[in-house]
């Protein structure tokens, strides 16, 4: 058996190299997020957001932008035979799941590097909420990547892939979004940053991550069966 670390690094490096060359997912995700912020700014006719509204605008935008990347996550494996190549190799097939989760986390981090500063510029009066927000972003990204990878691998064989991913993914990430917005809300209050129940919601996010990462790892092998 090939070591899982070698296979993980090979798949992750392949995905990132292909994305850097083709820019098929990241620019679309970033452009979507920026456009959504512009629409919110003029649609709500507000130059400043706070509390739950700010958290809702941020997370709704990041979630829908993420769906664009999740939709495309396994397209190369499906269309260029990557699934067969990986199934023929002497590797633990769950490595494909972990490598795709890692790739999606990188995409989400890159998206947030662009989208969050623009969100702050459009809607926040101070950047004080951003350092603690990083913790929420990291935990939410892990959960979104684990769930998204699982759903994307199930949907990729369907002709209705673009429809299936949001239809199945969005209900599953409702708990994640509730926890992420609830953790973000006190960071963006009008009166300044508050940490009321911040830790509790981080624990909820961590539990969600753990459940879906383990679930994905456990069932992924079966999803690859023809």
């Amino acid at each position: 058996m090939t070591s899982s670390r070698t296979a993980f690094a090979a798949i992750l490096a392949k995905d990132l190299r292909a994305e850097l060359r083709t820019l098929q997912s990241l620019p679309a995700m970033a452009l979507f997020a920026v456009t959504a912020f512009v629409i919110f700014r003029f649609g709500l006719n507000r130059s400043h957001l706070a509390g739950s509204l700010a958290a809702g605008v941020l997370w709704a935008t990041l979630l829908f932008a993420a769906v664009l990347g999740i939709n495309r996550l396994f397209v190369a494996e499906r269309e260029e035979g990557g699934f067969d190549a990986i199934r023929l190799a002497p590797i633990d097939r769950s490595v494909l799941f972990t490598a795709k989760v890692a790739a999606l986390i990188v995409y989400l981090a890159a998206l947030e590097l662009i989208a969050v500063p623009i969100f702050a510029l459009f809607f926040l009066s101070s950047a004080a909420s951003l350092p603690p927000l990083i913790l929420v972003l990291v935990l939410a990204d892990i959960g979104l990547a684990a769930t998204g990878t699982l759903i994307s691998s199930m949907a990729v064989n369907s002709r209705a892939r673009d429809l299936l991913v949001p239809l199945v993914l969005l209900p599953l990430v409702v708990p994640l979004m509730i926890a992420a917005t609830a953790a973000t809300e006190p960071l963006m209050l009008l009166g300044g940053v508050s940490y009321h129940r911040f830790g509790t919601w981080l624990i909820v996010l961590g539990l969600y991550d753990l459940i879906f990462a383990l679930l994905g790892y456990a069932v992924f092998d079966f999803l690859l069966e023809d």
Binding site: M1, S3, A9, T22, G82, D84, L88, A89, I91, D226
Partner: protein
Amino acid sequence: MPPDQEPAIRLVGLRRVYGERAALEDLSLETAAGSSLVVLGPNGAGKTTLLRILATLLRPTGGEASVLGCTLPGEAWKLRGKIGYLGHEPLLYRDLTGRENLRFHAKLHGITGARAEARIEELLEAVKLSHRGDERTYEFSAGMRQRLAICRCVLHEPELLLLDEPDSNLDIEGREIARTLIGPGAGHTRVVVTHDPDRFLPEADQVLRLAIDAPAVVS
């Protein structure tokens, strides 16, 4: 086949259905290690299905299948890495270069570092693609992609080659090149699916003729 030698492939009453349609029905055969089995039959007779079952890419619905001493599907994990599979798709990423594709597959098979580089250069040289190895494969012609797919197929020096129309898209020179890597006599056991009996029957040790709604014939 000597009586004490275990066959490379042993099928007993193999069956595979898709929904209600049987693609393979009650297929039995034994193929000796190091020999060439040529599989013939019309479209839809189950040739590719058979190859994908042997490659562990598809589960049989019924019957017994043993490949290189591993029972399928239970011991498929032991078999992976011993098979070189050349199917309809080249299993190459269009946005990676030829060398990057081969490096990727080498790593999946646990071949890394200088050993991988040496093997990749040896194979690219053999298929006359060394000078194009740093170009992305979407720039390759179909024949060049097939040559690279042959490199991918034999990169890890498999014991068993499963070849589905291996000459497709290859010109005369390409076929000669392919013969050196995946032809008979290179020590592999081979299963070749083809619609070109004139080309492959002379090198067959065993022939399997699959038919639609009729029993398979082994000769």
